[in-house]
Symmetry: C2
Subunit: 595 residues, 2 copies
């Protein structure tokens, strides 16, 4: 297997041949996925570093990888000596991709990219950078040329449809809803490109992306027809039947450009430039039968507001998942107490034993993060067998994990004291807990956005000029991706929270080399009530797992925070207790004692 | 003097003559002022009700006045029996001005307005409403025709320039700053139309608007010249001299349309459609020498961020104002304790005695609100001699007042217990205090907007599904208007807070017919410090007046809130104490005791 320097040399050879001065690889795929199938992870192959939300640029002499706050530390370590600069996005003094290119593109130079794997919006921005620099922006198949060895094939996992029992609506019903929305937006058709939108629209599921139950597919929907672009033989017979009943025809995965070129019917077609790839845009603009409307994909919001069935299912999935988490914690505690040596990777093994035994289990919803001590300061630390730490008997163990079941997707983090704690550790933990509770008990007049609510979470941190370099929380898909928009608890997010939206509440503290704490529940937005002042909303927990109380500096909490915490633990016992054995329930009762 | 029905009859006569189906009067003047000179208060003359942020529409059969939450109760009471409907803006089910017009304008009808007193933005919106209804939107001089009796003349108070000692910069320096900003925005000229922008730009002050030290004037600024449109004889000789030195020439107040029509020089002129009046827009578009750029008036932000001199001056003004407030409260308490009967209007008299004796006093910054008991539930209650309440010996007295001095403008509210309180009163007061403190002690990473920070203020209220139907706070002018933008603490305000911005912090509780509490300080945005997580900002009080502690339910406050409150009172004693006599200081010490 080639090392990073050899891979880059191969790419630079292909670049020289094509007259390409610089080549950019965003962390994307033809569907603008956050997590791409391995076949498309060129930025990882050529940099040797795994991450999302990144851009890798290579020139003859230089290379640079832009990563966000979650990956600063790990990227610095991994890229050391590779000849690739680690660029910290959003940090003062670090040039953006556009600024860097502005300085590195001579007049007349070619900036290469692969149109198929670049979102139209980014392609337009880079095209503008090239225009200003007097350079050219050219789609070139250099990844295919330079990445021949060990390149994973396109995934072709079995595809199936989530039943109405779990999804609440059939593909036919969802197509009707989408067509209504398209009419409202003045459109007759839409190119649905993101995997989660296709999954929602047709209840389509597969295992094409690691830990994410989606199928690589596009969908074209107009007023009468819908075409699903994916290999037909991947679909189970009953899935084909249900799709046919919904009026959905099947075409090859790579058939969309030809389909768009051949169409003769006049259509006003909706595209979302943040997700449509640049190659499809080119195909679309080549056919005069299309008038193009650029706007948000209406499925994004339809999908984000869970229906009653989805909510009931996800509540049930969360309660079972909570029971698995309780059993895991009990086993871990007992084994540590018995003097057994446990390592970070053992955590996933124990968790998988419980979750995997669930009759509705499909997959872990992401790679389990089990990080002891200073490792927990790396937000996206992933322990590897043979290179993981032993869980020593002091400090914290952070465990961030979840699963996708047939009835819901979970994401939960608890940080456990595994021995004596320093005052700094206790204070850090208590501050994170306050941030968590302050969102969990927030009430607001309808109309508030995620950016506005995020302010409430951070007060307990900001007052001490501390912060966490990430959002407070993200949406979660239904039997789907563990990250889902458009809402989030994150500075300046402008999406209004409405009942039915699911969000994680996961503030943290990350002090490089010493401390990492995160406490995470999934919450759902619900009505708090209506008064003469209007309609009020709040969050309600979906996840009911005890929060470790041993590190809490009780005097730091407000009375309201204490009341919330005791109320939450009473609910944990009341809701999860009945799913446990008597012995387990006894253990849980102690964990849920009021403070 | 005619009554409202007679006034409306006069207007309807003029409307019929002009073939006008409906006539709209916004609460504005040629400068889009929040508080208009009396000459322009047509909506008040024809409705008989005084308010801001309103629109009055009159048809042959109907009339309706739109008011915001501050005026709901008072407008309902005042308009009863007048034949004018009281329209509550922002309340579900109440049509907006545009919706109402859409239903009331038949095809071919004329909607009349006065272009000179309507902001361009509103004129465009109404023009669009007319287009949709097939009606015409026509500027008509009906106010001048129908309001002849008792119409106040245009104000012509003496005008002067605020010295550099108080303003920090000369008109010449400010013109240079503005020209730089215009260049950045790609413009060569600007029509400066709002009174506060003209006041800031040229340090111009007068007394044309009640309680607001501004002069009715426009200014035209290009790269070389500046023209001030106002009667020259209003200016003191030294003011004329300083303006001449800054290259400012003087033209008649009503000379702007002719000036714009005659200009031959090609200019790219900046206008702000939210404040430019529709008549000036018409004059501007008639001259092909102008290219028009529509954007925010850059002075708005320049003015909002106070310079070091302005801040030092306003701090000094606030400390003296605090001493006046302390003396007022001491006198009021002693007179009430001595059994004297005091009425609401006596409060302004006592306050004016102290403030008016200040050698730098110019004017009260607004009409003093002194409201006892249920009167305090009316947010903008103004007691009138002969119709004011006696201050009974129970419940609350709310006092909202302020002054403009040569070195700063103040705005402060305290709510005093004047006798025994009910539990509801104590709880309401304590919740308002929590909201006040939560903003006062907020810390945030730079970049947060007023809309985002507003969330922090309201949590202590929203958790109980309570709210106040107004912003948490507004900007304050320097030796200027008591309300000033663009920043505010108000849902969805998108202006980022930066050091040097002044804001009021004035949450409240208003329960119709029973309870009104408001606690207000002016705060200034300052740096909190810089850490590895970025630069943090916070607020610092400008006003140091004791907050009545007798109503506080101490157990409802968090430890941090208690610490803030005790720290604040220690500061009050330390900062204001030295300005007082020994006896006064002794009284203050008791008020500032730690809880």
């Amino acid at each position: 297997m080639k090392n990073v320097k050899e891979r880059l040399a191969e790419l630079r050879g292909a670049m020289a041949e094509a007259g390409c001065h610089a080549f950019i690889m965003p962390s994307s795929d033809p569907h603008s996925s956050e997590y791409a199938p391995l076949h498309y992870t060129a930025w990882e192959y050529f940099s040797g570093f795994s991450c999302e939300n990144a851009n890798l640029i290579v020139t003859a002499e230089e290379a640079a990888l832009w990563v966000d706050g979650r990956f600063f530390g790990a990227a610095d370590a991994a890229l050391k000596g590779s000849g690739i600069a680690s660029m910290h996005m959003g940090v003062k003094g670090v040039p953006t991709v556009e600024e860097w290119l502005g300085e590195h593109l001579p007049k007349g130079a070619v900036l290469g990219y692969a149109a198929e794997t670049m979102p139209l919006k980014q392609a337009r921005e880079l095209s503008e950078v090239c225009r200003k620099a007097g350079a050219r922006f050219v789609s070139l198949p250099l990844v295919d040329k330079a990445w021949t060895e060990d390149r994973p094939a396109l995934p072709t996992t079995p595809a199936w449809l989530l039943s109405r029992e779990y999804a609440g609506k059939t593909p036919a019903e969802k197509l009707a809803i989408l067509r209504e929305k398209l009419r409202e937006q003045g459109c007759t058709a839409e190119i649905v490109t993101t995997l989660d939108s296709v999954a929602w629209l047709l209840n389509l599921r597969a295992a094409d992306v690691e830990d994410t139950p989606y199928a690589l597919a596009f969908c074209y929907v107009n007023e009468e027809d819908a075409v699903l672009f994916m290999a037909e033989d991947r679909l189970a017979p009953e899935a084909k039947k249900e799709l046919a009943e919904a009026g959905v025809t099947i075409a090859p995965y790579d058939g969309m450009p030809a389909f768009l070129a051949e169409n003769k019917k006049e259509e006003t077609v909706l595209i979302d430039p943040r997700s449509l790839n640049a190659a499809l845009d080119l195909a679309l603009r080549g056919n005069k039968a299309y008038s193009v409307v650029e706007d948000s994909d209406p499925i994004v919001l339809l999908k984000a507001v869970k229906n009653e069935t989805e909510l009931a299912c996800t509540r049930a999935a969360h309660l079972r998942d909570a029971a698995h988490m309780v059993r895991f914690q009990k086993e871990m505690e007992e084994r540590l107490a018995a003097g057994e040596t446990l390592r970070e990777t053992d955590i996933d093994t124990i968790l998988h034993k419980y979750r995997g035994s669930d009759s509705r289990f499909i997959t872990e919803s992401f790679g389990t993060i089990a990080a002891w001590g200073p490792n927990a300061a790396m937000m996206h630390y992933a322990p590897k067998v043979g290179a993981d730490a032993e869980i020593e008997r002091h400090g914290f163990l952070l465990v961030d994990s979840g699963a996708t079941y047939y009835d819901g997707t979970t994401d939960v983090t608890r940080t456990f004291a595994v021995g004596p704690l320093t005052e700094e550790e206790k204070l850090g933990y208590t501050r994170v807990l306050r941030c968590h509770i302050d969102i969990a008990m927030a009430v607001w007049k309808e109309g508030a956005t995620g950016g506005e609510l995020d302010m409430i979470a951070r007060q307990a941190m900001w007052r001490h000029q501390l912060d966490y370099r990430c959002g407070t929380g993200h949406g979660v898909g239904h039997v789907g991706a563990v990250h889902e928009g458009p809402h989030s608890l994150r500075p300046h997010n402008a999406v209004e929270f409405v009942p039915g939206m699911i969000i994680t509440d996961e503030p943290g503290i990350y002090t490089e080399g010493s401390l990492g704490v995160r406490i995470e529940n999934e919450l759902v937005c619900v009505e708090a009530g209506e008064s003469e002042y209007g309609r009020f909303l709040r969050f309600e927990p979906l996840m009911y797992v005890p929060i470790d109380l041993t590190p809490v500096l009780v005097e730091e909490l407000t009375r309201e925070e204490k009341e919330w915490l005791n109320g939450y633990h009473a609910d944990v016992l009341g809701k999860v207790g009945p799913l446990l054995s008597e012995e387990e329930r006894g253990w849980l009762k102690k964990k849920c004692a009021a403070i």
